[in-house]
């Protein structure tokens, strides 16, 4: 009896830690993009290091949780779903890390006119992830509240879609001074940031089905 509850407590704290890592990872991502836009190279390099650490930490905890779920045969009915959920959440921080590394490696030439657009896009994408985390926590604690929390994820995902579209439109229709190669390059960066909110939406879709399954 004691062992059962002790194991449950350990896994609960691991899940919370994992979710915290994802949340922090996206916040660091936001900070990193802003640093890049403001040409704050030192701070940008620091955020890369932080996000790499957070990503690796999330990976380790994720694996630990999966092991615990299997070894102790926890949640036999929902184990599969929870594993997929954890993997998809891990994809979010992976996407954030990749984006930041792409900024670092490719060093896109973002004109000053697009700074605020990119900043807004990053904010919306990060907000979609930030709204997702409470929904994930609610799945474990209060399944009836999941649906109420998920609508914010969908809202911010749509917002980031719009903002990304706006950037692409501006790139190809307004900013004539840029080379085509630069435009295409920047378009990809808008897409990369947008992927973060897409990943959040994917998790939200999965979560809404999981919530229905739990309430049956």
């Amino acid at each position: 009896m004691g062992i059962l509850f002790k194991t449950a407590d350990t896994v609960i704290s691991s899940i919370n830690e994992f979710l915290d890592a994802i949340d922090q990872g996206t916040l660091v991502f936001k900070q990193g993009v802003n640093n890049y836009l403001n040409k704050e190279n030192k701070e940008f390099s620091a955020t890369i290091e932080t996000i790499l650490k957070l990503e690796s930490h999330a990976d380790n905890i994720g694996k630990q949780i999966e092991n615990d779920l299997y070894i102790h045969s926890l949640l036999p009915q929902f184990r599969g779903d929870v594993m997929v959920l954890l993997e998809k959440l891990d994809d979010i921080i992976d996407t954030a890390k990749e984006n930041i590394l792409q900024f670092d490696v490719e060093g896109p030439n973002i004109p000053i006119e697009l700074n605020s657009d990119f900043s807004k896009l990053t904010d919306a994408a990060v907000l979609s992830v930030e709204s997702l985390i409470p929904a994930v926590r609610a799945y474990f604690n209060d399944v009836s509240a999941v649906k109420d929390k998920l609508h914010r994820v969908y809202y911010y995902e749509k917002e980031s879609d719009k903002l990304a579209d706006n950037i692409k439109r501006r790139l190809f229709k307004e900013l004539d001074g840029l080379k085509l190669s630069e435009k295409i390059h920047l378009r990809y960066f808008a897409l990369h940031i947008e992927h973060l909110s897409d990943a959040a939406q994917e998790v939200a879709d999965l979560l809404s089905i999981m919530a229905i399954k739990r309430s049956l």
């Binding site: 009896m1 449950a8 899940i15 045969s73 926890l74 949640l75």
Partner: protein, 642 residues
């Protein structure tokens, strides 16, 4: 001998364990919240405890339904019930041991001519209806309560999981205890007359004779759980409606409560003490209660997930079980009684229902009841409540029977003769109806057996055919794949060979082009030399040289070489066979054979080998001799057959 007779009861216990333990732990094991091993250990232990501590109540009710007073009778009834349960289990129908044993006892009553206690039967049948309904009601209430608590407390999914695991084990233990307490009567209730008379002292506690009997029955149930219940557990867990772990817990809890209610003497006493009617202590069908509970939850969720087909199948089992067990017991008793000449009742006079009249049977019954009740009273002397109840019944029955005996003595001889004539008429009537009933029962049993076996055999045949067809299809598919694979491999090999050959051809062609280039270059040099030569004699000589040079190159034309390579390539296998047949053949002769095999004429061969057609003919003649080909046979035919 006693142990031999007990064996059928133990077999029934084994069947009960195999079948009814699934009702307690099926949902938990089906939802994978509890492993089968853990479930089996807990169920086994608590079933035994329940049977020993609290098993007497239900046994009393069964005893009052039909007091089987001979060991052979008990053996046959238990065996009939066990066979019924075993086969119903085999046909994957959740079956109730209670129904089987009740059917068996009624079959014994029919055979021995003992009256069936209608009050007890009604009590039992009522609980058969009340059990599932109560199960459903408890399930709905408990489920709502559970949901309410969950909504208030909002536990973490993992904590809930841990709690459910623990709760399923605790509730499962309680359910097993209740199952043992309630259903041990089905297994050992009819053997109480054979219980040991001496108590067993274990220092901390003492086991009475009946408790020792129930302990043996409990162990048989536990063995049934360990050896055969796994498959049924998985079926019960998921067959009627998909259950969540919470629902599984509620289902087991409501089932356990219902079983406990119908087996707890203390609870019954408590209810009676507050002025309510006492709860009847009756063996309840565990399967029916669990199905009722599951339906309760299913209906609460809107009834969408309930598989009514499976439910219908289960209902058929409910109807057929008691009938089948009763008929089986009836015929088995006839067999045991007449073939093995074993006493299936103490009062053998009652048997042979086709010749005895009602009046005789009734008068004998009164005597028998007196005897049997005393046996039962002795058997249940552990329970003061039962003693007081049975003593009252016994006293009244004895009085009635004595009264009847006295009355019979008073009747004078004239009355006896008139009674005899009336009896004769009623005897013929009764004999006719009994024969008709017998034929009807025989028909029903045949129909049921035909239905069960033909259905299963039909299904089996159908399944076998499907499996056979599937196997044939798979085999054909595999063969097709294999032949395709073979073809592909052959094609691949062929293509590889072709590629190899083409590559060689290409290389040769390239070499040939290079050679031609050098020839042309040299020719150009020679022509340039002639151009620059002023002396006519020298010029003539140079032109002659050019002519010789061209001829030489024509003779060593690489085209022919390429062709030769091709022929060599084509005839590789042919050369091997030819060498095996004629080991002393030279390379030139071998080449000639290859060209003959390719159906080239002598003229063509001459051109290819750059010799005259006459030489070719000569070579062919020599070859014929070397190969020992008779003049009557064509050389071309001989070579092409190699």
């Amino acid at each position: 001998m006693i142990f031999f007779f007990l064996s059928s009861g133990l077999f029934l216990g084994w069947s009960l364990g195999a079948n009814d333990a699934a009702n307690v732990f099926g949902s938990a094991v089906g939802t994978k919240m509890v492993s089968f091993k853990k479930a089996a250990i807990i169920a086994g232990i608590f079933v035994i405890i329940g049977a020993v501590v609290q098993g007497a109540g239900g046994a009393h009710t069964l005893g009052s339904l039909g007091k089987i007073d001979a060991l052979a009778g008990s053996f046959t009834v238990a065996l009939s019930a066990a066979i019924t349960v075993f086969y119903m289990t085999k046909f994957k129908l959740p079956v109730s041991t209670t129904q089987a044993i009740v059917g068996g006892i009624i079959g014994w009553n029919f055979y021995t001519g003992n009256p069936t206690n209608i009050n007890s039967l009604t009590k039992i049948l009522t609980t058969w209806v009340a059990g599932p309904i109560l199960g459903a009601i408890f399930a709905v209430i408990l489920y709502q309560l559970f949901k309410f608590i969950l909504k208030r407390r909002k536990p973490h999914l993992l904590k809930l999981d841990a709690f459910l695991r623990f709760a399923l084990l605790v509730v499962g233990a309680f359910g097993s205890y209740s199952l043992g307490a309630n259903n041990i009567a089905n297994v050992m209730g009819i053997f109480v007359s054979a219980a040991p008379t001496t108590d067993l002292d274990f220092v901390l506690f003492t086991l009475s004779g009946i408790q020792q009997l129930f302990l043996i029955g409990g162990i048989a149930i536990a063995i049934g759980i360990f050896t055969y219940s796994k498959r049924i557990m998985k079926r019960v867990g998921n067959s009627i409606v998909q259950l969540s772990s919470e629902a599984a817990l509620v289902v087991v809890l409501s089932h356990s409560i219902v079983l406990f209610i119908f087996s707890s003497q203390a609870l019954s006493d408590f209810v009676a003490s507050i002025g309510l009617p006492a709860i009847p202590l009756v063996p309840v069908s565990s399967s029916q209660v669990i199905v009722g509970s599951i339906i309760g939850i299913g209906l609460l969720k809107g009834g969408r997930g309930i598989k009514f087909g499976v439910l219908g199948q289960i209902s058929i089992g409910w109807v057929t079980t008691p009938i089948l067990a009763g008929l089986l017991a009836f015929f088995a008793l006839f067999f045991i009684n007449n073939v093995f000449k074993l006493k299936v009742t103490q009062d053998s006079e009652l048997i042979n229902p086709f010749t005895k009249s009602h009046s005789e049977i009734d008068s004998n019954n009164s005597y028998k009841i007196e005897q049997d009740t005393s046996v039962l009273t002795n058997a249940f002397n552990i329970d003061s409540q039962f003693i007081s109840e049975t003593e009252n019944v016994t006293e009244s029955t004895i009085n009635d029977s004595l009264q009847l005996g006295l009355n019979l003595q008073i009747i004078d001889s004239t009355e006896i003769s008139s009674l005899e004539s009336t009896n004769k008429i009623s005897e013929t009537n009764s004999s006719f109806w009994k024969k008709a009933t017998f034929i009807l029962l025989a028909l029903i049993i045949l129909l049921i057996i035909w239905y069960l076996f033909s259905g299963s055999r039909f299904d089996e045949n159908k399944n076998r055919e499907i499996v056979k067809k599937r196997e044939e299809f798979q085999k054909a598919e595999q063969e097709l794949i294999e032949s395709e694979l073979k073809n592909v491999n052959l094609k691949k090999q062929h293509l590889q060979n072709e590629l190899k050959f083409k590559n060689r051809e290409l290389v040769n062609f390239a070499l040939h082009v290079i050679q031609k280039d050098s020839v042309f270059q040299r020719l150009k040099d020679k022509i340039d030399k002639i151009k620059n030569e002023t002396d006519s004699d020298n010029r003539k000589q140079l032109i002659k040289d050019i002519s010789t040079f061209v001829n030489q190159n024509l003779n060593t034309d690489k085209d022919k070489e390429t062709f030769n390579i091709h022929v060599e390539e084509e005839s590789r296998e042919f050369y091997t066979r030819l060498n095996q047949l004629h080991s002393g053949i030279t390379p030139n002769e071998r080449r000639l054979c290859a060209l003959v095999r390719l159906n080239f004429s002598s003229k063509e061969i001459a051109s290819i080998l750059n010799i005259s057609p006459k030489s070719v003919e000569m070579n062919r003649y020599r070859l014929r001799k070397k190969l020992n080909v008779p003049s009557s046979q064509n050389l071309n035919d001989y070579i092409s057959k190699i």
